[in-house]
Symmetry: C3
Subunit: 346 residues, 3 copies
């Protein structure tokens, strides 16, 4: 899993948010805030962004398309279900199997037509050891002549994390010394780990202490936690992993809830469902929130009301979920401006 770009340089693609330096993230957020106050029309006129969805999307698709349109550009939408086919990502293979085309050829061809490719790959879902390689998004980034934007892979969801960082900054101001509780919550149908994974390093680097709470068997990816621990050590911040929801929330400034899947049961839906069924008490309610320090509530949505979190918390004054959703739009505009080097770029 080599980084898509060496840290320090402006990456050509956006595969992981922490491929951007903290200062680059700050610049993006500043630009997004200017765009939020006054919808300045950066110049995507005559530019087309190709969007490839190998899995469904509501918020990401709509906020991304709207960002492009408001900047004057066009989008082209391709759905795996109806528009195209499985693509090969291994190099040098004899393609006598299911995939009739290699990502290499698709990426090169599409690079002639569009100015950037935004991609949501579909992990195979059989083996975490395989899926954690993020081979598809890596193959697109390797072969595309235009910027590739990761719209959520098995490991990373940089667009969500960028909007989350902006929302944290807007709500808390200076992040140094603030405490973020990243808490697992119950759901009959879990989400990917990409959202918690992506926020870890940027939050730690920005000066926050982070506590990750989850039941046994729901640990984050070891490699990602390792990277986060290194980032914490360098930034002088603290990362605590494991333990109860209540312990994590105690004294936190922000409670970020997400129901992610178990890597231990990965690919075994029966076992996974039975493990989750015993964990319905992992839910954020008012009582839990009161353990925090005037704590805000965050969630990337979609959210199962009164399962993951109560209506009261979700609709309460401390809820930042709508700000997170709105900031998807503004941060994606700033990001497009940066990657496509158009006017108004940070």
């Amino acid at each position: 899993m080599p980084p898509a770009s060496s840290a320090g340089a402006t990456p050509r693609h956006l595969v992981r948010l922490h491929d951007l330096e903290p200062s680059a993230i700050d610049d993006l957020i500043d630009h997004a805030q200017r765009l939020k106050r006054r919808a300045a029309r950066a110049d995507l006129v005559g530019r087309t962004i190709g969007m490839l969805f190998f899995r469904g999307s509501l918020r990401t698709r709509t906020s991304f398309e709207a960002a492009v349109h408001q900047l004057g550009g066009h989008t082209i939408n391709l759905n795996a279900s109806s528009d195209f086919w499985e693509l090969e990502d291994r190099e040098g293979t004899v393609m006598d199997g299911k995939a009739p085309e290699h990502i290499k050829d698709a990426a090169r061809a599409l690079s002639h037509y569009v100015n950037a490719l935004a991609i949501r790959p579909a992990p195979a879902g059989q083996s975490w050891a395989v899926d954690r390689r993020d081979a598809q998004i890596a193959s697109w980034a390797r072969h595309s002549a235009v910027p590739v934007i990761n719209m959520e892979s098995a490991l990373w969801h940089p667009l969500q994390a960028l909007a989350d960082m902006m929302t944290l900054r807007e709500s808390l101001g200076e992040l140094k010394g603030r405490r973020l509780a990243l808490v697992w919550v119950h759901s009959p149908e879990p989400a990917s780990l990409a959202v918690p994974h992506s926020l870890l390093v940027p939050a730690l680097r920005a000066g926050m202490d982070v506590s990750v709470a989850h039941p046994t068997g729901f640990g984050l990816d070891d490699g990602v936690v390792g990277e986060a621990q290194e980032a914490a050590a360098r930034a002088g911040t603290k990362l605590a992993v494991g333990g109860s929801l209540e312990d994590a929330v105690r004294g936190a400034d922000v409670v970020y809830a997400r129901s992610w899947q178990s890597l231990e049961d990965y690919g075994n839906t029966t076992l996974a469902a039975s493990r989750r069924a015993r964990l319905s008490s992992w839910r954020v309610d008012r009582k839990a929130m009161e353990l925090g320090r005037d704590a805000r509530f965050m969630h990337a949505m979609p959210v199962r009301r009164n399962v993951e979190v109560t209506d009261e918390v979700l609709d309460g004054a401390q809820s930042l979920v709508q700000a997170q959703a709105e900031n998807r739009l503004h941060t994606q505009k700033a990001l497009l401006a940066m990657l496509l080097k158009v006017s108004g770029a940070a």
Copy 2:
């Protein structure tokens, strides 16, 4: 089933056409006619309209997208089949079932991204008592911060009715004293009741007498008929319901054909098919048309040729079906201008 807006005021959303006063409908038609003569470019530049299809569409999707494009705006298209998921519409529920997201949260999030939401919900199709509540479109209208446009729910299809009113006006001029025959016709696969439902009140209010013909077991929704009878009483027009196709067409200025489903067999496809199979004589042909008073023929399409109506009638000089289709474009432009309060609005 409370109205989405009190009659009299300009509604914020468009859920039912008769939430608009007759004079407001006239204004829309006047504006649409100006747009038809000269494709003036009202200003949707920089605006994006989100379109959510929980069921398929050909005419509605294409005419609506074209209307937005010709006004300079963008559309974003979301298909339930490939892009997103079932949404919850009940308030306060514990969401541990199939729907991973509440319309409340989807509507709020999408309101950040787009300037209006055009929605075609999919009725569950099990119970008319449930589906007639139109709970989905009502939930979208309740929670959206931007205008919601109903692209055909279980009960209503206001966009079709608006184009139909324009077509009637263009073809007949003054509508007072004119007679509209709304006739059930045979089809192996029936359509919804939304089209006949939506035209009733606007036509009666505009001064037309309306005869609805249908076989036993194919009555319109009782609540809708009740509303229409009240509207007729207030407008001094006549509404006759039930009886044969021939009786309805006799002396009519317009014959509007539609094969709608039976509410008595609702949710029971086997029974419904067997009931319909006996009714293949309910078809509009030249002989039937000659019972009218130089009668025009209307149909909202899609239409099964030589089953619902003969080629001869459909392709004849008295057929208004292509005018109806074309007027979808112009009336939708006028409607967008009104709801989004852009230049050129009526």
Copy 3:
């Protein structure tokens, strides 16, 4: 199978490339080359192109949408799988079967909304005698009031052939006296015959000699070969059909590979798969290419690497596959300008 337009006149639709005179093809290529050098913005502002896909597409959809966008226009995308339904193409039929709508009515209605219709029909796949009639695209062309563009039917893929002609011209300059080897290659899942069919007549008319190589049972459509032989006779060029890959490639300037389906096994997938299984030696590799005269390699993609052609050839300096893909964009712009009669048209 009458031509969609009489040869000589500029056709209103584009169903087959060879409905265009050689000089008209040359004019299109000249215009495309000017657009390639300098992306002059012809005027599609305010125009909308409807795209109907009854089968999936990656390159065609993306390159076509990008062409429209770069010219300032909009596209509307309709997928058979999610947006609409089977359409009837037979005239005068009693429509009590599966199709709820006639192409006649759909084409007329859509003609009100869009400025052109680009269509990829789905052949039924049961009988070649039926599918070779190309009844769907013919019905769209007959009933549409706006230009119809064939995005690949059972018989023809004119958009690919136009890009191929441009690529040949760019790579070889004068085509007179050049030799094109059109060779069948192995694949577990064959493609349609539309690509080889479409290139035959334009290449022969442009002065090329063409050798078509294929195993027994994989002959092209007899009617198409007959037309091509007539074209060769008139142009004074040679067409050789049948024989080995090696014989065809010997002395060729260009090797064009395609794995097309067998018309003898048409509709019988089991038989077809067993016939193909014995033919895995039909593959283009360096040894085969060296039989040519400094030969270029062409393929319309998608391509199964190391099955149809080796990585070495596909990624080598003689490979024109990316130029073919890129030229889809430029030629489609020139074509749209011609059919819609907008500025900059050839």
